[in-house]
Symmetry: C2
Subunit: 456 residues, 2 copies
């Protein structure tokens, strides 16, 4: 392993240069106009796997964006890792808030700024470079590995469940490794053992056939923007508790033991608040901030649009109003069931003065594992070798729906080892990745294969 | 007058051709990028006045858009009309809902479709053509007239009060004539004796310094889009009554006599609802639709914007949320006082989890006159001659703030004689003006000067 680590250290700058090329491709899966960029990013990923010495590298078509596959299976008797990541990225608006263009990676103060740097191209590339280092120095890997890099994670991995179901034998493995989550804090590497799920909707209300003059007609008809506000308001009470009937029925209560563990974590609420630039923190009464984010479900408005939104004043009574809303779910909530409860409640709330259209966008199940399984422990040792520090164990507020799918369809445990930081601005302007974490992550990944290979 | 009417009838097609040129200028006062179009529209208006035989025609600069002035004062001993109108127009978004381009006037089924056709270029042009007919056929007007056409009506006539105050002697007259309101219904000409006032605001909330990942941070901070919904909801109760403390204190109650008059008007609520394309009508409990629109104040959301509003799903927790809101006011509410009450209530409602910024955009006072004054009666006779039918007397839900200014600063009564229709789509896509009303309006305007000239 010394040779491998030396190789990684020597190639540090090259890795950054290559990563910049990867980050230059605007592979935004949410926007149809980027379809060709999606394909370019898939091909770039495939080429990088080939260059790293992987076999059977190819794009596998789906009804949506292609999956990139590559493997190295020449270690008979050794475990097989299924590495999962994604090459698609979030949209970049509002573009004017980016300090440097989102697809021209810029290194400042040891961080690389670009859309996809942390979520998830940088972390995918970290593993590609770790296998490359093994292949270059040892000529082989200590275990078997299958790379499975998808292009629809940021739009809810809509075709992934079906793909996994129909490719069970090709994806067969012993453990899934995913690097698509932040570490607990700068200098505090972590392993994530729980994720929230998601269900996402668009609500469209129509109050009239076209926009009306708010003077001539104001007072005579319902204002869909106001009705939308009324409906949204009824989704949560003042204490932050969600009012959808039945919403909490399947929520697994936090154990006192887990709450006690989390209280020990070095979490600085004041710094957290300042990093976010929030006047105050706010969340469900009766829970700490970490508990709210990791173990409690949410109802969020992701977008609002109605009427006149330009500069100045226009006295319009809008014909339509739109909201994008989503709920983060925790074990054992089911996105389908929660989505049904939400739709039923929404239909009950919507007055007959407006036409309601509900569109279910996507969803994913929450996930949780035991953190004392052997793979998690192996990852802990690898991280300690890469970062010089034992990891903490945490949950994450985000969603990686495929983790549940791997558990249910392939019977596989997952190890979630992420090297982003909580302030990495995933899904926001000025997304970034700390380059020393990226570098230590390559070393830790290289050790991870070794540690898992040596499990009896 | 027979010669004048013949001339108007003969020139019918020419008027439409000329109006099309006027409507081709996108003089949108709300959008700074149309500044040069504003100036072009002002100059076009001035040229039309000159061509009609008016004197002293010029653009008078203001701190904003220029006022177009022109007069004819060669009828000593006769009354002087101050004609007020505006050459600016509303924005055109959403552009995709226009059947034909908003600035390429299109005649279909006897209506001319274009932004500004009804509000207010078409109605301004109607008077320019009426004086032209008098000048061409008689060589003079039966009375004195001053044209005063402004370019900021659609942005709240922000510089007009000051202009009127500082140009009192130039604007001195006996009566103001305004054609900037719809008639009661197709085939039912009307004279408007009351207008609502307006106060307009933009509300900006900020919950964090940048957009956040709704998974990683959802539950920890207030969502400004949700807080905005909560705040807006508290502005009105379920019965449509506004909850701003003190809001109704100065509202003049509707008299039983006025309510009885309005009940006699040929108002078809079912057709009205269908024309608007509204699933149901809705308004303040205890009032009829006409009462709600003409004599009761409103609180309306004119625009909403927050987070991700594009196609697809983006799991963003928005940093900011914006609403444009406005209140229509009735006698004797004062926009300044109501604005202060609104701001105080807003500041009380906004939680400390968000930063609140309130911007007061513009406002105007409500107005009401006695409808049995001699000018109103003269207008009634003129309308009967132009349309072959005596007018009804109504109020209007919209606002023409300058009417109050003329009353207060110049001591002048106003005659509001509009020829638009309630479904003319002022402030909405597919704005239009009925060409027979336009034509009859030119004849009625020509008679109006005659009738006012003959008042003892």
């Amino acid at each position: 392993m010394n040779d491998v680590v030396d190789f990684i250290n020597i190639n540090r700058d090259r890795y950054v240069d290559e990563l910049k090329q990867y980050l230059a491709i605007p592979s935004i899966s949410a926007l149809p106009e980027h379809a060709s960029d999606i394909r370019r990013a898939a091909q770039w990923t495939a080429d990088a796997l080939t260059a790293a010495g992987m076999h059977n590298v190819r794009l596998i078509e789906t009804p949506g964006n292609p999956v990139v596959y590559g493997d190295w299976l020449n270690a008979p008797g050794k475990p097989t890792i299924l590495f999962y990541g994604h090459y698609d990225v979030q949209p970049v608006d509002p573009l004017n808030l980016w300090t440097t263009p989102p697809f021209e990676a810029d290194v400042r103060d040891g961080e690389i700024y670009a859309r996809g740097s942390a979520d998830d191209k940088g972390q995918v590339f970290m593993h590609i470079k770790a296998v490359e280092a093994h292949m270059k120095k040892a000529g082989h890997l200590p275990l078997n590995i299958k790379f499975f890099i998808e292009g629809e994670e940021e739009v809810g991995s809509v075709h992934l469940d079906e793909f996994v179901r129909t490719h069970k034998s090709e994806l067969a493995a012993d453990v899934v490794v995913i690097s698509d989550s932040p570490m607990f804090d700068r200098g505090i590497p972590s392993i994530c053992y729980g994720l929230r799920g998601l269900t996402y909707f668009q609500i469209d209300l129509r109050g009239s056939k076209s926009d009306l003059h708010s003077g001539s007609f104001g007072g005579a008809v319902a204002n869909p923007a106001f009705v939308l506000a009324q409906i949204l308001t009824q989704m949560k009470d003042k204490s932050g508790r969600i009012r959808i009937p039945g919403f909490y029925d399947d929520v697994r209560p936090l154990s006192e033991a887990e709450r006690a563990e989390w209280r020990k974590l070095p979490f600085n609420e004041t710094r957290y608040r300042k990093d976010l630039g929030a006047p105050r923190l706010f969340g469900e009464t009766g829970y700490s901030t970490l508990e709210r984010v990791w173990a409690r479900p949410t109802f969020e408005v992701n977008g609002l649009l109605s009427g006149f939104t330009g500069e100045g004043a226009k006295t319009v009574l809008p014909a339509v109003a739109m909201a994008k809303v989503s709920m983060r779910l925790v074990p054992d909530q089911d996105p389908k069931k929660i989505g049904d409860l939400f739709e039923a409640y929404l239909n009950k709330l919507a007055p007959k003065t407006v036409e309601l259209k509900v569109t279910r966008m996507h969803g994913g199940k929450p996930w949780m594992t035991e953190f004392d399984n052997k793979y998690v422990r192996a990852a802990g040792r690898a991280i300690e070798k890469g970062f010089g520090k034992a990891p903490v164990f945490n949950r994450e507020g985000g969603s990686i729906p495929v983790v549940s799918t791997f558990q249910e369809e392939l019977g596989l445990p997952s190890v979630l080892f992420g090297v982003g930081l909580p302030d990495e601005n995933a899904h926001a302007p000025n997304e970034k990745l700390d380059l020393s974490n990226f570098h230590n992550g390559i070393i830790a990944s290289a050790f991870l294969y070794e540690e898992i290979a040596n499990l009896e």
